[in-house]
C-alpha cells in the first residue's frame, strides 16, 4: 500500500469548463440565430450550417495535420462558425463562409496557438478578410422575406441610409425587432441579441463592463456629436451590429482585457471608434473594425491596468526601495 495519488492543491474543482462556457455562448446566440432564419429563410440556415461545419472541419484538419490533440469538442469552433455566419448577408454565396472559416480558424486562431492565444477575434478577422476580398458579396443586403418564397429584393441597411443623410423608413420598432430591414443574418433582431446577452450575464460567462460601457459610450457620443441633422442616439444603438458586437464579439475572452479597469478602457475605445467611423468614416458601420483595432491594444491596456494587490505597499515606499 503506497499507491495513493499525489497531486498539487486544490483537490476540488468547479464544474464549469471550456465546453460548458462555449455551450452557454451558443445557447445565448440561439434567439438571434432563430430570428435570423425566420427573417432570411433557407439561405440563412444554409449559411449558418456551412459556416459552423467549415469551422469545425478546419480546426480538426489543422490539428490533424499538425499532429496536435484534437479539441473540436470544446465547441469553440462552433461559436466562431456561428458568429461568422451571423456577420454575413443572407444573400452571400455558399463558398463565402467556407473561405471565411478557413481564415478565421487557421490564420487568426490556430497559427497563433489555438484556443485562447488569438490576439484578435477570429470571427471578426474572418469577416474583415471577406469584406476586404469580396466587397460586393459582403455588402449585398436583401429584405427579410422569410420562407415566403418571394424573391429577395436588394435593400440598404438603416445605417447605410443614415450615412447618405436621410432618415431610413424603418421605425425604431423595426430596428429593435429586425422587421423590414436589411443587414447581416444575426444582427438585425436587437431584442434577441439583448436576451442572449442577459443570459450570458446571468450565467457569469461575461461581465457587464464591456457591453454596458461600449453601448453607453456609443449612446453618449451619438447624442453629443451625432450626425449632421440626424441626431438619433437610441436608433443608432439598435440599427446595425452594435448589440451583436457589444455582447458577443467584444467580450471574446482571448482578445479582450482580463482586468476590470482594462475592460472599461477597452469598451470606451470600442465605443469611440464605432461612433467616429459611423459619423466621419467611409463605412456605414464601424463595430467590426473598432473591435478589431481595440483587440490590438489589449496587451498595452492590460499592462497599465494590473489590479492593486491586497496589502499593496504604498507607492512611495516602493520607489524608495528601487
Amino acid at each position: 500500500m503506497g499507491n495513493f495519488v499525489v497531486s498539487g492543491t486544490p483537490h476540488v474543482r468547479s464544474k464549469e469548463n471550456i465546453q460548458s462556457i462555449m455551450r452557454d455562448v451558443v445557447i445565448a446566440l440561439l434567439p438571434a440565430t432563430v430570428m435570423g432564419i425566420v427573417y432570411f429563410g433557407i439561405p440563412a440556415l444554409t449559411l449558418i450550417v456551412v459556416s459552423i461545419v467549415s469551422c469545425i472541419f478546419f480546426e480538426w484538419l489543422y490539428q490533424k495535420l499538425m499532429k496536435k490533440p484534437i479539441t473540436v469538442s470544446d465547441l469553440s469552433a462552433v461559436v466562431t462558425g456561428l458568429l461568422l455566419a451571423m456577420n454575413l448577408p443572407a444573400s452571400a454565396p455558399i463558398w463565402l463562409p467556407i473561405v471565411g472559416a478557413a481564415f478565421s480558424i487557421i490564420i487568426a486562431k490556430q497559427l497563433f496557438g489555438g484556443l485562447g492565444q488569438n490576439f484578435i477575434n477570429p470571427a471578426l478577422a474572418g469577416r474583415a478578410f471577406l469584406l476586404a476580398s469580396y466587397p460586393t458579396e459582403m455588402t449585398s443586403w436583401t429584405a427579410p422575406v422569410g420562407f415566403s418564397g418571394a424573391d429577395a429584393v436588394s435593400v440598404a441597411t438603416p445605417l447605410a441610409t443614415l450615412k447618405t443623410g436621410v432618415m431610413p423608413d424603418a421605425t425604431l420598432t423595426d430596428v429593435l425587432l429586425g422587421t423590414n430591414i436589411g443587414g447581416c443574418i444575426g444582427e438585425t433582431c436587437a431584442v434577441a441579441l439583448i436576451i442572449g446577452g442577459i443570459y450570458l450575464l446571468y450565467k457569469h460567462v461575461i461581465s457587464w463592463r464591456i457591453p454596458v460601457v461600449y453601448i453607453a459610450t456609443v449612446f453618449i457620443l451619438m447624442a453629443l456629436i451625432g450626425r449632421d441633422g440626424l441626431r438619433a442616439p437610441v436608433y443608432e444603438l439598435f440599427a446595425g451590429g452594435l448589440m451583436l458586437g457589444a455582447f458577443f464579439m467584444a467580450t471574446d475572452y482571448a482578445s479582450s482585457p482580463v482586468t476590470a479597469k482594462g475592460q472599461i478602457i477597452f469598451a470606451i475605445g470600442c465605443g469611440l471608434l464605432t461612433s467616429l467611423i459611423r459619423i466621419f468614416g467611409g463605412y456605414p458601420e464601424g463595430v467590426s473594425y473598432s473591435i478589431l483595432i481595440m483587440n490590438l491594444c489589449v496587451p498595452l491596456i492590460e499592462r497599465f491596468t494590473e489590479p492593486k494587490i491586497f496589502g499593496a505597499l504604498p507607492k512611495t515606499k516602493e520607489a524608495k526601495k528601487a
Binding site: 495513493f4 492543491t9 483537490h11 471550456i18 482571448a254 482580463v258 494587490i309 505597499l313
Partner: protein, 467 residues
Amino acid sequence: MQALTFKRGVHPPDGKALSAEQPIKVILPKVDSELYYPMSQHIGAPCEPLVAVGDHVKVGQKIAASGAFMSSPIFASVSGEVVDIRPMLVPGGATVKAIVVKNDGKMEEIEGLNQGRDYTTMTNEEILDAIKEAGVVGLGGAGFPTHVKLNPPKDTVIDHILINAAECEPYLTCDYRLMLEEPERIVRGLQIMLKLHPNAKGVIGIEMNKPKAIEAMTKACEGIDNITVQPLVTKFPQGSEKHLIYAITKREVKSGALPASAGCIVDNVDTVVAIERAIEKGRPLMRRIVTVSGKGIKNPGNYKIRIGMTLRDLVDAIGGFNEENPPVKLIAGGPMMGPTLYTLDVASVKTTSGLLCFTKEEAYIPEERNCIRCGKCVDHCPMGLMPFMLNHLALKGDGEGFVKHHGLDCIECGSCSYECPAKRQLAQSIRATKKIEAGKKAAAAAAARAKAEAEAKAKAEAEAAKN
C-alpha cells in the same frame, strides 16, 4: 449582526455534512503501537531530543526542545520506551528526525502534570512562559509558535485578538465540533489572551454556515463585554489570516508584514483551547482534534487523538477504509490547501487538522487545457493577483517577471485553480516558482549580509592597520 467578509474568493461545495454531526470521539493509541515525535512541528528552529534510545518516558514529559526563541518544545503523549530516533515522514512530505516511543499502555503521567493555575493571579511573563513551555503552536495549519505571536515587538499596539473559527476549508469540522462541545473553554482561552493585551477586544469570527456554533459561542460569551461573536460570510478563504483581519477590522496587512502590524493577533479555535489547557489544566499540547472524512473512510468523524500516532493507527482505530469504495487519494488537511500523502505511515503532528480519504470520483483530476483568458482567476483571487499571468511566467521560467507581478504575495489558497474552466494547475505552478524565488531572495539577502559583514570587517582591519 451583519456578516462580514473580504473581496473576491470562491464558494466550493463544503462537504461538511459527512462529519459535522459526529461528536468528538477520543482515540487512544493501542498498546505496543509506536508513536513518532518529529523534531519540527512548527515554524522556527527544530528541536533536539532530550531523551535517548532506551529511556522510559511518561505522559507530559518534555522530550525535545530548542534554545531558540522561535521554536516550541515537544511532549510525549503516551508512556513507554524510546525505541529509536530516526527519520520519519510528516504530512507536508518532508522526512524529519523523530523520536519513536513504544506505548506501554499505562499512560503513566509525569510528576508535576495537572498543576493548573488561575491566570488572573499570573504575570504576563508567567503566562507567556507557561504557553511556551506547553509547546503551544498555531493549530490551524501553519504552526507558528503561539508565545511568539502573543508577544509582538514592544511598540506594536494590539487592539484586536481574533479567534479564527471560520473553518473555511471544505470537509473539516473539528473546529465546529469544538465550538459546540466546549465553547466555555474557548472563551476562557481567549480571556487568557486578553489578559496579555488588556486594551484589545476579542472577536470570534464564525462563518454563517455554522449557525449552531454561532449560537453556542454567543451563549458562552454572555456577560463578557470585551468578547463578541462576529458572523462571517461563508466564502473561501475566509479563514486566511489576512482576510479574516480585513473582514473584521477592514485593515489590510501589508505585503510581507505580520498580523501584529495591523494591530491584530489571530489564533485558531483549537489553539485557544490548547492555551486554556496549558494554563488552567497544566497540561502541555499532547492531543489534537482531527477530522477524518471523505467517501473513502468507513466512519467519517471528529477524533481527539494523541499527537504522534501514525495516521495508519488512526484509520485502523476508527474502522478503516470504506472497502466497497476505497480511497485513491489521501489529503492531510482540507481539500483546498492540504498536501497529499502517498502512504498512511505518516506521523500525526501538532498541525494535523484533517485526513481526507477521497475515492476515485472525489479525486478526479480534469485534463489541463489552454488558458482561454476568461479572467475568472483574476476575479476570484483574494490577493488581487493575476494568476493566469503568474502561471504563464512560472511555466516560462521567468522568475523576475513573477516577482514583479507580485507572485510572492500568493497565499496558495487555490481559488484560481478551483475556478479555472480550463482546469489549469495555476496554484501548483505558482507555488513551485514561489519556493524557488523565495529561496533566491533569502540567499541574496544572506549574501548581502555576508558581504556587508566582510566589508565592515575589512574596514575595521584597515583602520586597525592604519593605527
